[in-house]
Symmetry: C2
Subunit: 379 residues, 2 copies
């Protein structure tokens, strides 16, 4: 086991109607609130109204920044930072999924700092603080509600980068599974894929952490058991709750303790598909993981077999690969680009971008030859 540090200060309210505690949490932090959200679906499903009622109760002054995109872009973050600075907000309230909360995290350090936000993303500047962030989650997927990570895209430079800083932990998160009931079948499936991918990125990282491996198996097995049930019963609160909780535990440090690092190569591959063709994050992962596993079937045979045993009760590499593909397919997440129509895919363009972005894992390095093979399988 490697040395490690345990720390996660987020307070999260999980369950039905937890939004009732929002006004108290807002009042404790001030008056001026920068409200960040996406394209307005929260106005249709009642979540916006529920939050506004709480903000009224707290006597808050609310400044809205909306229109955050599913693959969030740095231009929105810059604009939100400007608004937050000009209004001297006391806190940010982010209502949405990973894209909204991630954008709000970068906005929170951006408001507290002086640098252009992209400098933090690139690791050229270190943030020294943040305005407090309160997150209301509407999509079970990224785990951002309980971690210090964010992913932001820069359309000018064709980069999509994941990064993390301690000041980016939300102060408080609200996780009401009922808020995810209106999520479409497609995005529900992508969320399940995303949580599985997070657990796998930890599992394929560097270092021997037996208990963290067991937690990985627990989280993925939860998704294997309840994911398909949820896909058949999308309005079931209890199933929504189990998947929401699994997604939260899949990327809140728990699976990382005792390792030197996760791998995150598959996420880097997925980000290229998203930045080139706007492939939804979860779909990019259900396409990239099978390819990555196939590429590593000899290099990491032992780890893949150990995984297969603990997830599917099988002890063959090939059967494990097929079991993953069958599972993603069963919940409606694509495993090849050819099954999708997000863009007019170009083999050479994808390979070029994998190369120019130096796409690789932190543990399992990827060569140029690997990039070629990955794209061949993914297409």
């Amino acid at each position: 086991m490697e040395n490690f540090e345990i720390y996660n200060p987020v307070k999260a309210y999980f369950g039905r109607d937890v939004i009732q505690k929002l006004s108290k949490e807002v009042s404790e932090r001030g008056k001026k609130v920068l409200l960040v959200y996406g394209k307005g679906s929260i106005k249709k499903n009642g979540i916006y109204d529920a939050a506004m009622e709480q903000l009224d109760k707290a006597g808050a002054e609310v400044y809205e920044y909306s229109g955050i995109k599913p693959n969030p872009i740095i231009d929105d973050v810059r604009a939100a930072v400007s608004l937050g600075k000009s209004k001297e907000v006391d806190m940010i309230l982010a209502i949405g999924g990973g894209s909204v909360i991630d954008s709000a995290k970068v906005t929170a350090i951006g408001i507290a700092g002086d640098a252009d936000p992209w400098e933090y993303v690139k690791g050229k500047e270190t943030p020294h603080g943040a305005v407090p962030l309160i997150a209301v989650l509407t999509l079970a997927a990224t785990g951002t509600e309980l971690n210090r990570f964010a992913v932001v895209q820069n359309n000018a430079t064709k980069e999509k980068i994941g990064f993390g800083y301690p000041p980016m932990y939300p102060a408080v998160s609200f996780l009401d599974p009922a808020y995810t009931i209106s999520v479409s079948a497609e995005y529900t499936s992508f969320g399940i894929t995303d949580l599985i991918a997070h657990a796998l990125e930890a599992y394929f990282g560097r270092g021997d952490a037996s208990l963290s491996d067991r937690f990985v198996f627990g989280i993925i097995n939860e998704a294997l058991e309840y994911g398909p049930q949820l896909m058949n019963d999308l309005t079931n609160y209890d199933l929504r709750a189990r998947i929401m909780y699994a997604a939260t535990m899949a990327l809140n440090n728990l699976t990382a303790y005792g390792r030197k690092s996760g791998d995150w190569g598959v996420h880097s591959i997925g980000h290229v598909l998203s930045v080139l063709y706007d492939v939804p994050h979860g779909a990019s992962l259900s396409i990239a993981y099978p390819a990555w596993l196939r590429l590593h079937k000899d290099r990491s045979a032992d780890r893949i077999i150990f995984l297969g045993k603990n997830l599917f009760g099988i002890s063959s590499v090939d059967e494990t690969l097929i079991a993953f593909e069958d599972y993603f397919t069963s919940i409606g997440s694509p495993i090849r680009l050819s099954q999708t129509s997000y863009g007019d895919y170009s083999e050479s363009k994808i390979i070029d971008t994998l190369r120019s972005n130096k796409v690789s894992g932190m543990h399992h390095r990827l060569s140029g030859e690997d990039h070629n093979k990955l794209v061949e399988i993914m297409l």
Copy 2:
């Protein structure tokens, strides 16, 4: 799933030589340190010296309270509170196992408050704050280093009570597996038993929390796999690390999320054995759990079978009971009082104390008739 709140603010340094970070953590919190420890074994194994070097480096004024007993008593807490108040300490540094850290937790709320510390233990007063507590762990067992709980005994009233308050979370904990290498075989075994018992108390609680169940299985399986290896190789750092980490995760809220409550009936039974005969905590649990499981073999057959399947790969209640007894025996933890000589056991005295203390679980209630049966099995 029940509604629940995720919150655990403890920062913990885990690994070799993490004590090097102590001086920084002390300096950030002030100058005057109340150092709390037990009967002085930390002076023999070098931990005291390593901590004093760090305290020197931080320029700390140190006031010592030592002599905390393995089953910690409220009289020591009262005396430590007096010392801490008279010296106006800025923080407490506790070096030891569960008894020392638990005593320090109650001391921390006692110094910050006005009530007699026993009032907090009994729940008659609510603490509103605490002086910061830094914990250096020397025994893998109770998980106190990462939670808000403590257990303290009152010899005058023959009560041993577990309780918890948010201000009792340590601010920082140091977990160096090397610090547990000098722990005797006996207490190593009791620590393993304790961590298993903690996971089981969550498992047999109220509420349907599938992912928390999986975490329970992960933690206990870790102990099942590495516990016996450690008993055969007590100076192995890596095995000490795996058991230390499992113990920390066994009682830091992780297994409780989504449940209405744990059960904790077995701990209440064990506390009676400790208060009457000074039975070490872990030994009291390896004696009480088999009896409790036998008592519940029909009442909770489904849960016991599900447990047996996930831990031992067997699907019979009776075989699961035997597997637990065999396991405790294999690591050297007693499963019957008759295997021990902590006192001159009296069936009627134990039964009387179970009754007068109204010993029961929060989920599985215990009747007077149950008390009789339990004692019959335990003897």
